[in-house]
Symmetry: C2
Subunit: 142 residues, 2 copies
Protein backbone atom coordinates (compact mmCIF):
# COMPACT_ATOMS: atom_id res chain seq x y z
CA UNK A 1 0.00 0.00 0.00
CA UNK A 2 1.21 3.49 -0.67
CA UNK A 3 -1.84 5.63 -1.16
CA UNK A 4 -4.14 6.34 1.75
CA UNK A 5 -7.74 5.28 1.36
CA UNK A 6 -8.94 8.89 1.15
CA UNK A 7 -6.40 9.51 -1.60
CA UNK A 8 -7.49 6.52 -3.59
CA UNK A 9 -11.17 7.32 -3.14
CA UNK A 10 -10.64 10.94 -4.11
CA UNK A 11 -9.01 9.87 -7.34
CA UNK A 12 -11.83 7.47 -8.07
CA UNK A 13 -14.55 9.97 -7.41
CA UNK A 14 -13.03 12.79 -9.40
CA UNK A 15 -12.27 10.47 -12.28
CA UNK A 16 -15.89 9.46 -12.28
CA UNK A 17 -16.98 13.09 -12.36
CA UNK A 18 -14.60 13.72 -15.23
CA UNK A 19 -16.30 11.06 -17.30
CA UNK A 20 -19.78 12.55 -16.94
CA UNK A 21 -21.33 14.97 -19.44
CA UNK A 22 -19.80 18.33 -18.56
CA UNK A 23 -21.88 20.18 -16.00
CA UNK A 24 -23.85 17.15 -14.85
CA UNK A 25 -24.26 17.08 -11.08
CA UNK A 26 -24.20 13.91 -9.08
CA UNK A 27 -25.04 13.41 -5.43
CA UNK A 28 -22.61 12.07 -2.94
CA UNK A 29 -24.56 8.84 -2.56
CA UNK A 30 -24.83 8.25 -6.30
CA UNK A 31 -21.12 8.81 -6.50
CA UNK A 32 -20.50 6.49 -3.59
CA UNK A 33 -22.47 3.78 -5.29
CA UNK A 34 -20.81 4.22 -8.66
CA UNK A 35 -17.34 4.37 -7.28
CA UNK A 36 -17.87 1.78 -4.58
CA UNK A 37 -16.84 3.63 -1.47
CA UNK A 38 -18.75 3.96 1.81
CA UNK A 39 -21.20 6.86 1.39
CA UNK A 40 -20.53 8.68 4.63
CA UNK A 41 -16.83 8.40 4.14
CA UNK A 42 -16.95 9.64 0.58
CA UNK A 43 -19.06 12.54 1.70
CA UNK A 44 -16.26 13.54 4.00
CA UNK A 45 -13.74 13.33 1.19
CA UNK A 46 -15.92 15.35 -1.15
CA UNK A 47 -15.92 18.17 1.37
CA UNK A 48 -12.16 18.36 1.10
CA UNK A 49 -12.28 18.39 -2.66
CA UNK A 50 -14.86 21.15 -2.46
CA UNK A 51 -12.83 23.15 0.03
CA UNK A 52 -9.87 22.89 -2.30
CA UNK A 53 -11.73 24.14 -5.33
CA UNK A 54 -11.49 20.90 -7.26
CA UNK A 55 -15.17 20.26 -7.16
CA UNK A 56 -18.19 22.51 -6.88
CA UNK A 57 -21.01 21.51 -4.56
CA UNK A 58 -24.64 22.55 -4.43
CA UNK A 59 -27.13 21.74 -1.71
CA UNK A 60 -30.78 20.75 -1.96
CA UNK A 61 -32.82 19.75 -4.98
CA UNK A 62 -30.73 18.92 -8.00
CA UNK A 63 -27.74 19.53 -5.85
CA UNK A 64 -24.58 17.48 -5.84
CA UNK A 65 -21.06 17.71 -7.17
CA UNK A 66 -19.43 18.75 -10.45
CA UNK A 67 -15.81 19.28 -11.30
CA UNK A 68 -14.97 22.92 -10.81
CA UNK A 69 -12.72 22.99 -13.88
CA UNK A 70 -12.27 20.94 -17.05
CA UNK A 71 -10.57 17.60 -16.41
CA UNK A 72 -7.36 18.52 -18.23
CA UNK A 73 -6.86 21.31 -15.76
CA UNK A 74 -7.04 19.07 -12.72
CA UNK A 75 -3.74 17.47 -11.88
CA UNK A 76 -3.47 14.39 -9.72
CA UNK A 77 -1.31 16.51 -7.48
CA UNK A 78 -4.21 18.86 -6.82
CA UNK A 79 -6.40 15.99 -5.77
CA UNK A 80 -3.81 14.28 -3.64
CA UNK A 81 -2.88 17.48 -1.91
CA UNK A 82 -6.52 18.12 -1.09
CA UNK A 83 -6.67 14.91 0.91
CA UNK A 84 -3.34 15.22 2.69
CA UNK A 85 -0.41 14.20 0.62
CA UNK A 86 1.92 16.54 2.41
CA UNK A 87 3.70 14.34 4.93
CA UNK A 88 5.36 12.43 2.13
CA UNK A 89 7.25 15.36 0.75
CA UNK A 90 9.25 16.02 3.84
CA UNK A 91 9.54 12.71 5.54
CA UNK A 92 12.96 11.33 6.42
CA UNK A 93 13.10 7.56 6.33
CA UNK A 94 15.15 7.65 9.49
CA UNK A 95 12.84 10.00 11.29
CA UNK A 96 15.55 12.62 11.53
CA UNK A 97 14.33 16.17 11.79
CA UNK A 98 17.48 17.61 10.36
CA UNK A 99 17.81 15.56 7.23
CA UNK A 100 18.59 17.50 4.08
CA UNK A 101 21.04 17.74 1.22
CA UNK A 102 23.79 19.21 3.43
CA UNK A 103 23.24 16.85 6.27
CA UNK A 104 21.76 13.76 4.67
CA UNK A 105 20.70 10.55 6.37
CA UNK A 106 22.12 7.41 4.80
CA UNK A 107 19.23 7.02 2.40
CA UNK A 108 18.47 10.68 1.84
CA UNK A 109 19.64 10.88 -1.76
CA UNK A 110 17.93 7.73 -2.94
CA UNK A 111 14.72 8.51 -1.11
CA UNK A 112 14.72 12.01 -2.54
CA UNK A 113 14.93 10.57 -6.02
CA UNK A 114 11.81 8.49 -5.50
CA UNK A 115 9.88 11.29 -3.85
CA UNK A 116 10.72 13.57 -6.76
CA UNK A 117 9.56 11.02 -9.27
CA UNK A 118 6.28 10.58 -7.50
CA UNK A 119 5.66 14.27 -7.25
CA UNK A 120 6.65 14.73 -10.86
CA UNK A 121 4.16 12.06 -11.82
CA UNK A 122 1.39 13.69 -9.83
CA UNK A 123 2.19 17.07 -11.32
CA UNK A 124 2.19 15.98 -14.94
CA UNK A 125 -0.90 13.82 -15.09
CA UNK A 126 -4.43 15.14 -15.13
CA UNK A 127 -7.95 13.81 -15.08
CA UNK A 128 -8.05 14.49 -18.80
CA UNK A 129 -6.09 11.32 -19.36
CA UNK A 130 -8.75 9.17 -17.80
CA UNK A 131 -11.43 10.15 -20.28
CA UNK A 132 -11.12 7.53 -22.96
CA UNK A 133 -10.49 4.30 -21.13
CA UNK A 134 -12.71 1.48 -22.26
CA UNK A 135 -13.64 -0.02 -18.93
CA UNK A 136 -15.27 2.38 -16.57
CA UNK A 137 -16.41 1.38 -13.10
CA UNK A 138 -18.23 -1.30 -11.23
CA UNK A 139 -17.14 -4.22 -13.38
CA UNK A 140 -15.84 -6.06 -10.38
CA UNK A 141 -14.09 -9.38 -10.51
CA UNK A 142 -16.30 -12.14 -11.87
Amino acid sequence: MYLSRPAEYALRASTYLARLEPGKRVTSSQLAQAVDVPPAFLSKIMRRLTANGIVDSKKGHHGGFVLARPPVEIRFLDILRAVEFGPIKDHCLFGLGNCNADNPCPLHVEWEILKQQIEQWARTHTLGESLNAAQAFKQKQA
Copy 2:
Protein backbone atom coordinates in the same frame (compact mmCIF):
# COMPACT_ATOMS: atom_id res chain seq x y z
CA MET B 1 2.50 8.04 3.85
CA TYR B 2 3.41 5.44 1.32
CA LEU B 3 5.71 2.99 3.03
CA SER B 4 4.42 0.76 5.79
CA ARG B 5 6.16 0.99 9.14
CA PRO B 6 7.70 -2.45 8.73
CA ALA B 7 9.06 -1.40 5.34
CA GLU B 8 10.58 1.78 6.68
CA TYR B 9 12.04 0.02 9.70
CA ALA B 10 13.46 -2.77 7.56
CA LEU B 11 15.25 -0.22 5.40
CA ARG B 12 16.62 1.55 8.44
CA ALA B 13 17.86 -1.59 10.10
CA SER B 14 19.53 -3.04 7.05
CA THR B 15 21.12 0.27 6.22
CA TYR B 16 22.55 0.31 9.71
CA LEU B 17 23.93 -3.17 9.25
CA ALA B 18 25.45 -2.14 5.96
CA ARG B 19 27.40 0.61 7.65
CA LEU B 20 29.04 -1.67 10.22
CA GLU B 21 32.43 -3.31 9.76
CA PRO B 22 31.74 -6.28 7.53
CA GLY B 23 30.90 -9.39 9.55
CA LYS B 24 30.12 -7.55 12.75
CA ARG B 25 27.07 -8.98 14.48
CA VAL B 26 24.59 -6.82 16.32
CA THR B 27 21.73 -7.92 18.53
CA SER B 28 18.19 -7.02 17.82
CA SER B 29 18.00 -4.72 20.82
CA GLN B 30 21.23 -2.90 19.96
CA LEU B 31 19.83 -2.43 16.49
CA ALA B 32 16.51 -1.27 17.86
CA GLN B 33 18.27 1.32 19.96
CA ALA B 34 20.49 2.53 17.14
CA VAL B 35 17.76 2.74 14.62
CA ASP B 36 15.10 3.95 16.99
CA VAL B 37 12.39 1.41 16.53
CA PRO B 38 10.52 -0.56 19.22
CA PRO B 39 12.66 -3.58 20.10
CA ALA B 40 9.98 -6.25 20.03
CA PHE B 41 8.65 -4.94 16.76
CA LEU B 42 12.04 -4.78 15.13
CA SER B 43 12.70 -8.31 16.28
CA LYS B 44 9.69 -9.40 14.32
CA ILE B 45 10.87 -7.58 11.23
CA MET B 46 14.34 -9.06 11.51
CA ARG B 47 12.81 -12.52 11.36
CA ARG B 48 11.37 -11.71 8.00
CA LEU B 49 14.67 -10.38 6.72
CA THR B 50 16.30 -13.55 7.99
CA ALA B 51 13.69 -15.77 6.40
CA ASN B 52 14.29 -14.00 3.12
CA GLY B 53 18.03 -14.45 3.18
CA ILE B 54 18.83 -10.78 3.48
CA VAL B 55 20.28 -11.10 6.90
CA ASP B 56 21.92 -13.94 8.75
CA SER B 57 20.99 -14.55 12.37
CA LYS B 58 22.74 -16.38 15.14
CA LYS B 59 21.36 -17.21 18.56
CA GLY B 60 23.01 -17.13 21.95
CA HIS B 61 26.32 -15.61 23.02
CA HIS B 62 27.77 -13.26 20.43
CA GLY B 63 24.71 -13.89 18.41
CA GLY B 64 22.78 -11.31 16.48
CA PHE B 65 22.38 -10.19 12.89
CA VAL B 66 24.69 -9.54 9.93
CA LEU B 67 23.90 -8.86 6.33
CA ALA B 68 23.93 -12.12 4.44
CA ARG B 69 25.57 -10.52 1.39
CA PRO B 70 27.62 -7.43 0.64
CA PRO B 71 25.54 -4.23 0.64
CA VAL B 72 25.86 -3.65 -3.09
CA GLU B 73 24.15 -6.94 -3.67
CA ILE B 74 21.10 -6.08 -1.60
CA ARG B 75 18.51 -4.16 -3.56
CA PHE B 76 15.82 -2.11 -1.87
CA LEU B 77 13.40 -4.34 -3.73
CA ASP B 78 14.69 -7.38 -1.86
CA ILE B 79 14.13 -5.69 1.46
CA LEU B 80 10.72 -4.32 0.63
CA ARG B 81 9.55 -7.62 -0.74
CA ALA B 82 10.65 -9.35 2.45
CA VAL B 83 8.26 -7.23 4.47
CA GLU B 84 5.29 -7.33 2.12
CA PHE B 85 5.49 -4.92 -0.73
CA GLY B 86 3.54 -7.18 -3.04
CA PRO B 87 0.02 -5.79 -2.88
CA ILE B 88 1.19 -2.63 -4.60
CA LYS B 89 2.25 -4.30 -7.79
CA ASP B 90 -1.15 -5.60 -8.68
CA HIS B 91 -3.50 -3.16 -7.11
CA CYS B 92 -6.10 -1.43 -9.22
CA LEU B 93 -6.99 2.04 -7.99
CA PHE B 94 -10.61 1.24 -8.67
CA GLY B 95 -10.55 -2.06 -6.89
CA LEU B 96 -11.37 -3.89 -10.10
CA GLY B 97 -10.20 -7.46 -10.24
CA ASN B 98 -10.07 -7.49 -14.00
CA CYS B 99 -8.01 -4.42 -14.66
CA ASN B 100 -5.20 -4.82 -17.17
CA ALA B 101 -3.83 -3.43 -20.41
CA ASP B 102 -6.64 -4.94 -22.49
CA ASN B 103 -9.38 -3.99 -20.14
CA PRO B 104 -8.06 -0.96 -18.31
CA CYS B 105 -9.78 1.06 -15.62
CA PRO B 106 -9.85 4.80 -16.25
CA LEU B 107 -6.55 5.37 -14.50
CA HIS B 108 -4.85 2.12 -15.37
CA VAL B 109 -2.27 3.52 -17.73
CA GLU B 110 -1.21 6.42 -15.52
CA TRP B 111 -1.15 4.28 -12.40
CA GLU B 112 0.90 1.67 -14.18
CA ILE B 113 3.47 4.29 -15.06
CA LEU B 114 3.94 5.23 -11.44
CA LYS B 115 4.04 1.65 -10.21
CA GLN B 116 6.70 0.87 -12.80
CA GLN B 117 8.79 3.82 -11.74
CA ILE B 118 8.64 2.79 -8.13
CA GLU B 119 9.55 -0.77 -8.84
CA GLN B 120 12.32 0.38 -11.14
CA TRP B 121 13.64 2.54 -8.33
CA ALA B 122 13.55 -0.31 -5.85
CA ARG B 123 15.26 -2.62 -8.31
CA THR B 124 18.11 -0.32 -9.19
CA HIS B 125 19.14 0.96 -5.79
CA THR B 126 21.09 -1.06 -3.25
CA LEU B 127 22.33 -0.70 0.28
CA GLY B 128 25.72 0.03 -1.21
CA GLU B 129 24.59 3.55 -1.93
CA SER B 130 23.97 4.29 1.71
CA LEU B 131 27.54 3.68 2.76
CA ASN B 132 29.10 7.09 2.50
CA ALA B 133 26.51 9.47 3.81
CA ALA B 134 27.82 11.90 6.37
CA GLN B 135 25.04 11.82 8.91
CA ALA B 136 24.32 8.39 10.27
CA PHE B 137 21.65 7.76 12.87
CA LYS B 138 20.27 9.07 16.08
CA GLN B 139 20.93 12.76 15.41
CA LYS B 140 17.35 13.62 16.06
CA GLN B 141 15.87 17.05 15.74
CA ALA B 142 17.45 19.52 18.12
